[in-house]
Symmetry: C6
Subunit: 268 residues, 6 copies
């Protein structure tokens, strides 16, 4: 097997601020090789957490951004035509099962059901992956673990994980960090001073209160980091906030006015 | 035929706790080569039972996790391009019919109808499988048997087996094991002490009573085993229960509170 | 033409109990090469009848289990890649037309409309099959006949044969055999004694009365044969009936209770 | 061009009983190479008429049974893989345009819209067929003519020809032949005596009066010919009528009773 | 580039009767290479006008009949397998952009949206066509112009051009020619005398008044030319009108009676 | 890597009239490599702005017109058959990530969700693009930046960017330029005199007031430039306005009359 496992190593420690006991609990889940589901809203740090854990456990990480056009073959592998014949190409899930990587299926609920069913035998006592098209039954590497992410705010009647999938995972809840922690994150990621960062956090929390009252989601930590970077780069605070916190998330005139007002007041 | 039947043998005896006369009845069905349908909720041990029977009967077992994108070709086989020509590749059902394996189609109702129709001639007096695309008519090996699983809780008007399929199977009902048996299973699978295991079972039964009252499905035995493993590994019982029994199956605040309360009371 | 017609011969006389004048009428239809439609519920013996007639007429039989993913190409044929070029592979309908077989399209209404339209020129005075993709016009072998099956209970507004298809067939009605005949069939197929067989038939008839009152279909003769085989094999009559007659066809608690009661009373 | 035009010649004169001036009018349309649409119910002789005209005009006839899975490529042609390269294969419409055949698209409304749009440039002053995928623009042979059939009883809001297609055709109405003519046809096609044939026609007309009152379509002339053939073969007239005229077209118990009664009375 | 541009030249002057200033305005649009949309009902002469303008401007014309199964690749091009490798085949739009043809997309609204989006960069200041699959960015030939047709009567909520497409075109309205002009056209195209042609035009105008009152579209000039040709060929005027003007466009008994009456009165 | 980056350079300065501080803000976003979303109505200059910024920053620009049939493979790349084997062909997004181009996804909301999910890892701290089908993980070139456009007026419940996508971008609002600026643009782009250009702008503004009152969108600056070019070319102002400003955008008789009246009055 000539797969370059090295390219999947997380090289540098990804910055991560723990919110609770999630690091220790994830380690326990990994010791027992229990499948893990990380739940929470957009941009609250789920992917960062998984990356951090892969680095901490010293395991390769293979991330797959799921989408509704993804098929089981995209995960498992397919035959390629080559030199007059065919060559089997492992998909990312198969690669992870072979090399003992943590396989992270991001927003798995977006994928078609065949991709969720395909992970079933990897998530129970069998820990196998049948490559039906190749006639091969893979026994997962002892280090292999499956992690999926799931945003409860998105689920609808049309698109939800089947119970037979949910009942194969242990789960962690994530949320935006509390104010002090989020301020620290902004400073660390942008180099901005703590006072200005705290103002941004204040605006963000105001917006999160509008969730369900005109906003589909609150402002993510990621967008706040964008605003912090722009201010740190010399952009006017009002311009930076409008450009990074307001314009991307809503076109509703009332909501925009409310948020713009909060920005003006905060940076007055 | 160079198929490696050996890889489909169940090597070690899979742990299985009989709930009634299902072992003897399955053996009678197998003696008469009657097709079998195993019915019951998620994670109650259907797949484990089939695996156990394959081991007990000493027959190879080929399992296929059905899904809505699976086509008849995925079961029966297809032509592959190779060395300037094509090579026929048997699908798992064809392989099972040739080598005399038990073919287990897990959650067959998920599959498209063409995959269910394709099994018809294998499930009546003909015991044949026509490979239309290859122009070959396979007579099933005398040891071949077809087993399917079916979760009655999932069926809807849109997705159900056709009567012409149902009327080709004998059927077994499965359910979660009763409390004493389930406690024994938890101890056996996790190494946890009986007293703590009994507490987990008590929580599980509380949750199963919520089925239809806010929960789509009860907590499966599998998730209880996860909780037992985490506690056995030193994780706080409350953390373990929340992570393995509550967070995976519901995002409803009321149900979570009810379950969290049951956990706190039980492990107080 | 190197097609192995021999593999499509029905080798041994298939057991068939005539219900009326259907054998003579089918023979008249065959003498005039009129297309035939056999109508009736699941498991009443339609396929067995066609097999029997093919044996009686001494003609090869090619059966195709139709399904909603079946395309005209699956019936007619397609090009395969081979040795750097392509090779045409006749589909089962084309093979039947060439070698003069009886072609039996089982549950044709399941197929997509293109597969039903493709049979039109084979079912009128032309008796031709145009292979558009090959640029060939096949004149059917003089022995060729087309037979289709049709379950009137399944048809809906969404899925029905077009009038322009129906009006190309002569038709036979089939139903479950009357009690005496059905008892004979059970004895013949399972080796069970007539008295016990009669009890099974009694239960079956009770269930058929529930059709439309909670049951979609009655219990087929096939399922009764299963029960007979299990009892003959030493299985308790109640267990055998529940496993073969009740569990496969319904999950409704009331219907199950009614049927279980009938079983208990009958075998008390 | 090595297309075997000869195989598309209508060898023997197809039996056709004119209903009015349709033969002369079709000839005028052909002289002016106007596209023709033949309209009428199932089995009234539309296809037979077109075949007859092709024989009378001495032109090859290429018939395509349209269906909802048919694509423009099925009509126009496609590239085939061959000997390491590709070879273009003309579709039936292209072949007809090249060799100067009458191309008959049967039940064109069943086809997808792309197949109807593809005929547009062949049906106006351009008389061209662009093979976009081949980069070739075909000028139709002077003898080429396009004929389509259309059953007004089938059209719905979902499936109808576009006005821009309809407005490219001259049209003929067809219907079942009147009683005397239909009797003559039955005698000619089956060898049955005129008296019995007249009785069949009487039954057929009774059924046609039920159209819209429980029957979707009346009984076609084709089915009456079937009944005539069976009676001529020695089958009991009642059996023959039930098998050829009633069972194929309806499962409604009331309608069946009405028709069976008419049969009994007529042949009493 | 070995494309045979010559085959796309309009050889002889297409007969066209201007209705207003459209010839001069189209010339101005062409001088400025502005994209042009020609709007109007079926069969009023839109395609003829475009052909005429291509002839008048001395530019090659590439016409594409759009349809709902047409993809961007059908317009832009695709890779073909050939001689063991692949060869890129330009689609008609790409060919037109390379050789400087007028590309006429007929009934563009029928096409899927990807085909309309693909023309965007060809219709603004960029005048480019990115061949994403080939990694090539084509700069359109200075003579290239894009023309589309659009029938406002067909558009629905489901199928309409996007505003971002509409706002890239200048537009011309077309309609059926007024009576005198239409009479001239009939005479010119069929050789019929003016008096009879005027009667046909009178019938046509009567029918156009029924548009919206039982007729979806009026009778096109094209159908009137058909009727004129048939009468000129010796067909009875009533037969010709029924066959060319009435039968193709409606099956409604009332409308047919109204039109037949108008025909009888006119040719009495 | 033999990609011809040169072909993606913007050669000449694209004419762009700034409406506010957008040039400086875009430069700040680019310095921090923040993803950018440009929002606004059709034809207001979004694409021109992006082109201008690419020229100003001296970076190659790769533009992709998104559409609903576009798949992730169209962006990322695919395998091509070649010389008996396969060759990987980078898609435009991959090319941009490799050579450090600005990748502009025009009207991204038109694309299927898989194409939006594929950009996620390129728009957070990872700046990676996994080529799952090739088993390669690309680290974006330091100069790479992602820009998308978005027309808020088009979004519906069915088609909108997911929050998890929106929350990855900074955003700019665009609108039609104010009257003086728009007049200047018309003069510059067409060579028309300022007085006539001002009249066109006046008509355009009248039409924009009808948005939501019968017009889906106002008249874009692009259409006004068309009108200006035609007038400059000698076309009558009324004809030019009708052809460029009215006919393309509406078929509503009332709206047309209102706009025609405004044109007549303005150019009286």
């Amino acid at each position: 097997m000539s797969i370059d496992a090295q390219q999947y190593r997380v090289q540098a420690e990804p910055y991560y601020q723990p919110q609770g006991r999630e690091v220790a609990l994830f380690e326990a889940a990994y010791r027992n090789r229990l499948p893990v589901m990380v739940k929470g809203p957009t941009g609250c740090g789920k992917s960062r957490f998984v990356e951090h854990m892969a680095w901490r456990l010293g395991k390769p990480l293979i991330t797959v951004a799921c989408n509704e056009d993804m098929t089981a073959s995209d995960l498992v592998g397919r035959y390629l035509l080559e030199g007059g014949g065919t060559r089997w190409l492992d998909g990312p899930l198969t690669t992870a099962a072979r090399i003992g990587a943590i396989c992270y299926l991001d927003e798995i609920v977006e994928a078609r059901q065949d991709t969720t069913v395909v992970i079933h035998p990897l998530t129970d006592h069998r820990r196998t992956l049948p490559l039906d098209k190749k006639g091969e039954l893979i026994q997962a590497h002892p280090d292999f673990q499956l992690v999926i992410s799931y945003n409860p705010g998105y689920q609808s009647l049309m698109k939800d994980l089947k119970q037979s999938t949910k009942q194969r995972f242990t789960a962690f809840d994530f949320d935006y960090p509390e104010a002090g922690l989020e301020t620290t994150i902004l400073c660390k990621e942008s180099g901005l001073d703590a006072e200005t960062a705290a103002k941004l956090v204040k605006i963000g929390h105001a917006a999160r209160n509008l969730k369900g009252h005109g906003l589909d989601e609150g402002i993510s930590t990621r967008l706040m980091v964008y605003a912090a970077q722009l201010i740190r780069d010399g952009v006017d605070a009002g311009d930076a906030c409008r450009m990074a916190l307001v314009r991307p998330i809503t076109d509703d005139a009332d909501i925009r006015q409310t948020l713009d007002h909060a920005i003006d007041v905060t940076f007055a």
